[in-house]
Amino acid sequence: MTHEVPTYIGFEEYSEHVPASIPSAVQQATDRFVSGRAARVAELPQWEELRQIGSDIRVHTIENMDVYLIQLEEKVKAAGGTVHWAETAEDANQIVLQIAKEHNVKTAVKSKSMATEEIGLNHFLEEAGIEAIETDLGEYIIQLAGTGPSHIIVPAVHLKKEEIAALFSEKLNINAPADPIELARIAREVLREKFLNAEMGISGGNFLIAETGTLVMVTNEGNGRMCTTMPDLHVAVVGIDKVLPNWESLTVFLKLLARSATGQKLSTYTQFITGPRRAEGEFGPKEFHLVLLDNGRSNILRDPVGRDVLKCIRCGACANVCPVYKNVGGFAYGSFISGPIGAILSPQILGTQAARELPYASTLCGACADVCPVKIPIPTILRHLRRRVAQGDAFALSTIPVPIRAAANLASLVLARNWIYRLGARLLPIINPFFRKNDWLSGMPYPLNRWTNVRPLPQFGAGFRKWWKVRSAKGTESTR
């Protein structure tokens, strides 16, 4: 009954078989987000200041998470809501199922939620005989396709409109055209029926405001509002890291989030939900349940370097600028969350055995850290997790394969003893004639074949040291 937790994420293996359509589909969408973001950021002269304030608030909040979570629980209860604490993904799924069973729920409508993707809630409910329908267009598409999301905010970014039309045609038994407006209309028609008949609405949440117990949802399609107002029962599953102290701090994140995510000033809908409806005539469900998901976050909090990942507000800007992500797409990251943030979160949630490759799936170019609205030092955390993989630390034993460790030992030995290094540098040119073609080296043996299969290598030719010696002997340079 548990959802499928990946036992090993083979990033390299996947990267060798990326479907040809993915990079172009992903680049088309992310380029649009990148230019939109840049335009919105340029309008705000205080952007860098906002980022710093956002970062400071998130640091303060995660360092005082216990205080704010307890306050949040009190306020949600005071507003008439129910709070559930879920230590694991399994716990969260069981809690939602229990609530559904108590209310004889047959169909649940869902708004887009990374937390429910994280715990695999849909699959879990389906197995228990409850239909859970995604109502965000992108989520609806990937649910039909039977996959997870390949991007934090645009989950079906890897699919082109022709592929979506084919999917609709097959799954809905219709003849769907490759026209985005028409495809959206078809989905609306199907989903309208579901909204009217569902007994439960399930959502995630972008923020939780401790001072009033308010759930904040930032959406664009309006489906989130329908999920949280039409059924009499609303269950929100939200990570404990989403808590914010107060409304004043929220204003900073509302400025940062939509601009960073989609290049909007504000999303179309910003919802504030404080408990269930209190009187007849008010909108909203009769019952409001908040499931607070830990699933490893408390453990991450113990790590002074790694815990900065919990500052994340799930905008996806890091993925949009990541040249690795843009060439492999989200599925390479093998988990619910992809891109640079996935590369630092998944190894901390799933462990550095299953997600050993992810911290290495980066050139450490740093583009992600430049755009992160809350200044998560992603390259620093990547290096930190690489250390965990390579050497082990207080959180996990080393999981590096033996040959790589041996290579590192050898490299350290050579590079720390300059006479061995210098001898090696003098000997390397000997191999040039064996692989030389047009002044470049190609067709070299493993592991250098992994370089030369892609592009040739310059010839080895350490000549500077000798040149310097001769020059110095002639007295044209100071030798001191």
């Binding site: 390299e12 990267s15 060798e16 990326v18 040249p323 690795v324 060439n327 492999v328 911290p359 290495y360 799936a361 980066s362 050139t363 450490l364 170019c365 740093g366 583009a367 430049d370 290096r383 690489r386 250390r387 965990r388 993989v389 390579a390 050497q391 590192a408 030992n409 490299a411 350290s412 050579v414 590079l415 720390a416 003893r417 300059n418 290094y421 210098r422 540098a425 047009n438 470049w440 250098l448 992994r450 370089w451 299969n453 892609v454 592009r455 040739p456 290598l457 310059p458 080895f460 030719g461 350490a462 000549g463 500077f464 040291r465 040149w467 310097w468 020059r471 340079e477 100071s478 001191r480």
Partner: protein, 245 residues
């Protein structure tokens, strides 16, 4: 007369002899008295970036000892290697250790080549002549870790006859990433090809950058694509003169 020590980097040492010779000539022509500590090997970044902090320490110590025989500034032709020493050596050694004391000193007097020219010597015109269409790839650690956004362009701007053309994605990584090329060759290939296509579309006949590693990647990629565009270290362009063009 300013004094400086040459840090040639391990990739420069193996693959770019003439660039290192040009670095020597340019600095000398600007009146810098140079020294070359022969005990230098590598800065240790390949080990550090792969998570082997413990194995990096011995390499870092070798580097620091090599350059501690003089207190002259250290100049290297790589933003990435210089950044490793400038920004990461301190984290390798706990406070109070000899390594930490050395790292405080070394990190305070190491400069990337263009940084040294523009920000220390206040020189942007080295008298170079290069009548070509030139584009520029902003290498990642040079740009983001070292924060060198204007230095290379200021130098190019002073080159006689040079016509500068911007890349569409000047600041996008070329897919080098050190051992990344070996660990994820297909991702590296895709990134390199994007960069090469951007260069091909620019209309330039020369592309320059301030990083031996990225240069190996981009130059190899251009060669593989059958292009005649010259990929060069900015040092080699700056060494071009009336006679050489």
């Amino acid at each position: 007369m300013p004094k400086a020590q040459l840090f040639i980097t391990c990739l420069g040492d193996q693959f770019y002899t003439s660039t290192l010779q040009n670095m020597t000539r340019i600095l000398k022509s600007l009146g810098v008295e140079l020294d070359f500590p022969p005990d230098q090997t590598c800065c240790g970044q390949p080990l550090f970036n792969n998570g082997f902090e413990d194995k990096t320490r011995a390499v870092a110590l070798n580097f620091m000892h090599a350059f501690s025989k003089s207190d002259a500034p250290i100049i290297g032709p790589s933003g990435s290697c210089v950044s490793m020493i400038k920004h990461h050596y301190l984290s390798l050694f706990p406070e109070g250790t000899q390594g930490h004391t050395l790292a405080v000193d070394i990190s305070s007097r190491i400069f990337e080549f263009t940084e040294y020219l523009v920000n220390v010597l206040n020189v942007t015109d080295v008298g170079a002549v290069y009548p070509h269409k030139v584009t520029y790839h902003a290498t990642c650690h040079y740009l983001r870790e070292m924060g060198l956004k204007t230095e290379a362009k200021a130098l190019l701007n002073s080159v006689k006859g040079l016509e500068f053309i911007s890349l569409k994605e000047e600041e996008t990584c070329c897919g080098f990433g050190g051992s990344f090329t070996i660990t994820f060759p297909e991702v590296s290939r895709a990134m390199m090809e994007n960069k090469v296509n951007d260069i091909l579309a620019s209309g330039a006949d020369t592309v320059v950058m301030c990083e031996p590693g990225c240069l190996m990647n981009v130059a190899g990629g251009l060669h593989k694509a059958g292009s005649t565009i010259r990929a060069m270290h900015i040092i080699d362009l700056l060494a071009s003169s009336e006679e050489s063009v």
